[in-house]
Symmetry: C2
Subunit: 220 residues, 2 copies
């Protein structure tokens, strides 16, 4: 296990290398590998465990009765998911988690945290509070992206926000076209169509998951 990596994650940030070991033991940390596309957690299950992504990535999604998929967000390496449900053990999952690529997870038992017998309890608690607050912002953002009634508006609000968050007009997104459509709540073919229009109008270029937003200076 890469201790240096763990110490830089939002969950363990601020921990001393020595205390990390006892923490991992107290939380019954176990490692597990998932191939691309494999389900990790299903809606309806209860879980007292939450997960830290060691490598790869995970999408958090919801499937309605007719099979329509809604993507709530993407969890990258170093981040955690299912911590909401681990904090509220009485709640059963409303979402599923799926490996969006070959992924290695660290599974952690939250019960130790919620009882008073955890080493570094205060540190992990404040870190978890920060993490859930950040997730609130991520969910709020996803709501803003889908608040426009037009596909173009949704795309531009999402993409320009990504440019800001990633600090560059050229950036990658963690979704393919179908996933982006399910994240923005629109039809995939209509999304592709709108992207083509934006390209034709010289507002952006795309190459797979990589987008470049063009400014006046980029025009011919």
């Amino acid at each position: 296990m890469d201790i240096q990596f763990l110490l830089r994650t939002p969950l363990f940030l601020g921990a001393a290398p020595e205390e990390l070991e006892s923490l991992l033991a107290a939380m019954e940390a176990t490692q597990r590998r998932f191939p691309r596309g494999e389900g990790i957690l299903r809606a309806g299950e209860d879980t007292a465990r939450f997960y830290l992504v060691l490598s790869g990535g995970v999408t958090v999604e919801h499937h309605d009765a007719w099979g329509n998929r809604t993507i709530l967000g993407h969890v990258a390496a170093g981040e955690v998911f299912a911590e909401t449900y681990a904090c509220l053990p009485q709640q059963s999952m409303m979402v599923s988690a799926v490996a969006s690529q070959e992924t290695v997870l660290l599974s952690l038992n939250a019960a130790a945290l919620l009882t008073h017998s955890c080493p570094s309890r205060d540190l992990i608690l404040t870190n978890l509070l920060r993490i859930t607050a950040e997730k609130n912002l991520a969910l709020s953002r996803r709501i803003f992206y889908t608040s426009s009634k037009t596909i173009r508006g949704r795309l531009l609000s999402y993409l320009s926000d990504q440019a800001v968050l990633q600090g560059s007009l050229t950036f990658s997104i963690p979704f393919d076209r179908q996933q982006l459509a399910d994240y923005l709540g629109v039809d995939r073919s209509a999304l592709s169509n709108e992207l083509s229009k934006l390209r034709r109008e010289g507002l952006l270029t795309t190459r797979k998951n990589r987008f470049s937003l063009l400014t006046q200076a980029d025009l011919p």
Copy 2:
């Protein structure tokens, strides 16, 4: 100040009456009254304070550049808001808060919590963690309600969920029609129209903010 009321709120739940006073002092608690419709917090501001609703109610909303309103949620008496931003002081507000009726708030300084010098720190921290986790669920639900592409689908998912959450097929919602439209991300007149259809089809009845979902047994 109604101590008994405070001790039953999710924020102070589990506190001893004696420690509540020192807590309120440490968090520099001050009370303030807002008439219906008045803005409490504006998007763009920073805030290290968060707010507990003593009476009344607050809507959390977002206004885009064209003046379109998106409602993220409603905060009822006993609940708190802006705690996300209080936990992440570097973030400026993406949303505004508006009194949806005559409202009395308790304003609290979060700085005391985040430093290590707070009485009952552990209790408030775990309570806040639970609260932000619950907010995550509330935001996730709002996303699910808007995941259907039809107004009918959005209405039915919202209303049937409310029936479950409130434990009765007859229930009140904290929104008028315009607010409900802005919460579900649809046009108000189209929403009214769809509600009329649902009434005509015998699926529900409405009286102001009060809805009744009808089952087979209610049919004539």
